[in-house]
């Protein structure tokens, strides 16, 4: 097996735009190809992650750039869609089946509740098909544990919004105070509006190639794609849209992280920077323990220590996270990869993490899917 690198990344900012998903995707792809110095004719295979668009979405995006006849495969795994696309790209490259693979994540999500998350008809009619309800259950459980306070939930949003001020690709680039977060509209107790991310629009792309290919092409700062752990629902997991869950349940993120860390030969103590699935403030706190960054029950202590803030030991979501960027479902994972590549190249500007050499991305979505990727300089 050969190693895989990320030779280039591209992005269309996340937000709301008066153009279609095809235009959003094409901008991210062109940005990515220019960054990697790759011509569209050189791409062996393309994986396109998207949740809500039409049939042959990837084909329709790529048609705006080049119609070369090589395979285009569309990938859907809810919020883990582009993590799954990257997983496939990594496998193609490391197995020798392809030299250059393009991954694109693109989304133009409608405003309001995310519909069609897989609920049964009786759940939908009974008003139980509400994703924030699931996040609220997790949040209340954290609060019931006694260590996490509502102010901690607010402070996750405060931290990420503070980070986002320096990210030109984020939808919200404004700081909020703890009081503003707690005082924003209640969505599903204990989660207020500013503790939840907004589904939105955007695109992100990455070119994955073999290490040999990157060397031959003289790519100056390829980022190594050290490993990916991709996991789907297990018998004791709980997830959107399950109507019930076991009292003792397992963590899909923990399993994905264990695979990723083992394959990369690292431990959580080696990580310098993390982009994690902060769909809501409680989800970020749960990711701290599930990614092994703290012990269960110490999530709030880690947050309060300042270690996960820019300037701290292991900054989490220096991009501003989904809470600030918004979540274009199919693009969010590659958006994280875009951020980590900038961080590991040392080109993240005002949000640069000092001497970042190992970065971890984490996405988790309805269904249930989780993807943890380890990148390094």
């Amino acid at each position: 097996m050969t190693g895989a690198v990320i030779a280039g990344v591209g992005i269309h900012p996340f937000g709301r735009f008066p153009v279609g998903y095809r235009e959003l995707g094409a901008i991210a792809v062109n940005d990515c190809l220019a960054d990697a110095g790759v011509a569209p004719q050189e791409i062996d295979i393309t994986f396109v992650a998207n949740v809500g668009a039409e049939m042959a979405k990837g084909h329709n995006v790529l048609d705006r750039i080049y119609r070369g006849g090589n395979p285009i495969i569309n990938v859907e795994a809810a919020c883990a869609s582009s993590g799954s696309a990257l997983f496939l790209a990594n496998n193609m490259v490391t197995s020798g089946a392809a030299d250059i693979v393009l991954c694109l994540g693109v989304e133009k999500a409608p405003r309001g509740f995310i519909a069609r998350s897989g609920y049964e008809q009786w759940q939908i009619e009974s008003g139980l098909g509400v994703n924030p309800l699931y996040f609220a259950i997790q949040a209340q459980e954290l609060l019931q544990g006694g260590e996490v306070l509502e102010t901690d939930l607010a402070d996750v949003a405060v931290k990420n919004h503070r980070h986002s001020v320096h990210n030109p690709n984020a939808m919200y680039r404004k700081e909020f105070t703890r009081e503003e977060v707690l005082g924003s509209k209640m969505v599903c107790a204990p989660l207020t509006l500013l503790m939840l991310c907004a589904p939105n629009e955007g695109a992100a792309a990455a070119i994955v190639m073999t290490e040999d290919m990157a060397r031959r092409r003289g790519i100056e700062s390829p980022i190594r794609l050290r490993s990916i752990g991709l996991v789907s629902r297990g018998p004791d997991d709980w997830f959107v849209p399950a109507a019930s869950y076991p009292i003792e349940r397992t963590s899909i993120t923990e399993r994905a992280a264990a695979i990723a860390y083992e394959r990369a030969g690292i431990g959580p103590e080696d990580i310098d920077v993390v982009e994690c699935q902060d769909t809501d403030a409680a989800s970020e706190l749960l990711a701290y323990r599930d990614l092994g960054l703290c012990k269960p029950g110490e999530e709030a202590r880690l947050l309060r220590s300042g270690d996960v803030t820019l300037g701290g030991r292991v900054p989490i979501n220096p991009s501003g996270g989904l809470l600030s960027k918004g979540e274009p479902l199919g693009a969010s994972g590659l958006g994280q990869i875009h951020e980590l590549v900038q961080q590991l190249r040392g080109r993240a500007g005002m949000r640069q993490v000092n001497e970042a050499s190992i970065g971890v991305s984490h996405v988790m979505g309805a269904g249930h899917n989780a993807c943890v990727a380890v990148l390094s300089r």
């Binding site: 519909a115 009974s126 609220a136 018998p235 076991p246």
Partner: protein, 126 residues
Amino acid sequence: MTAETLVYKAGSIGQPTQLAASRCPHCARVQFPSTASCPACSLPSDDLWLAGPAKLVFATKILAEPPDSLVAAPYGVGVAEFPEGIRVIGLLDDPPPAVGDAVVPVVHQPAVNLVTFAFRREADQI
């Protein structure tokens, strides 16, 4: 509404009901709604009816109804922990029970064209 054929025993509005679950004879895992086979073992499951009383471990209010909901917001939703070892998400009856209350599933009509189940405080049983 098709819920009664899938997830609870039909009955009169407001009367106690039972939720249609299943239990694996091999590993004893409980599923709600019932599944024909156990997701852990893939062996055939046995029927199991959840009657409670259960303990309400979570409660919140939905303030804006999601797409295609027949129930108009605001309405209460909770999670009930059954002694069989499973937590079930369901609507809350009126008056809504609080976290820590003992609850039972009852047949519930939250809208003219919808009959489903909800959790009622055991002490409020008619």
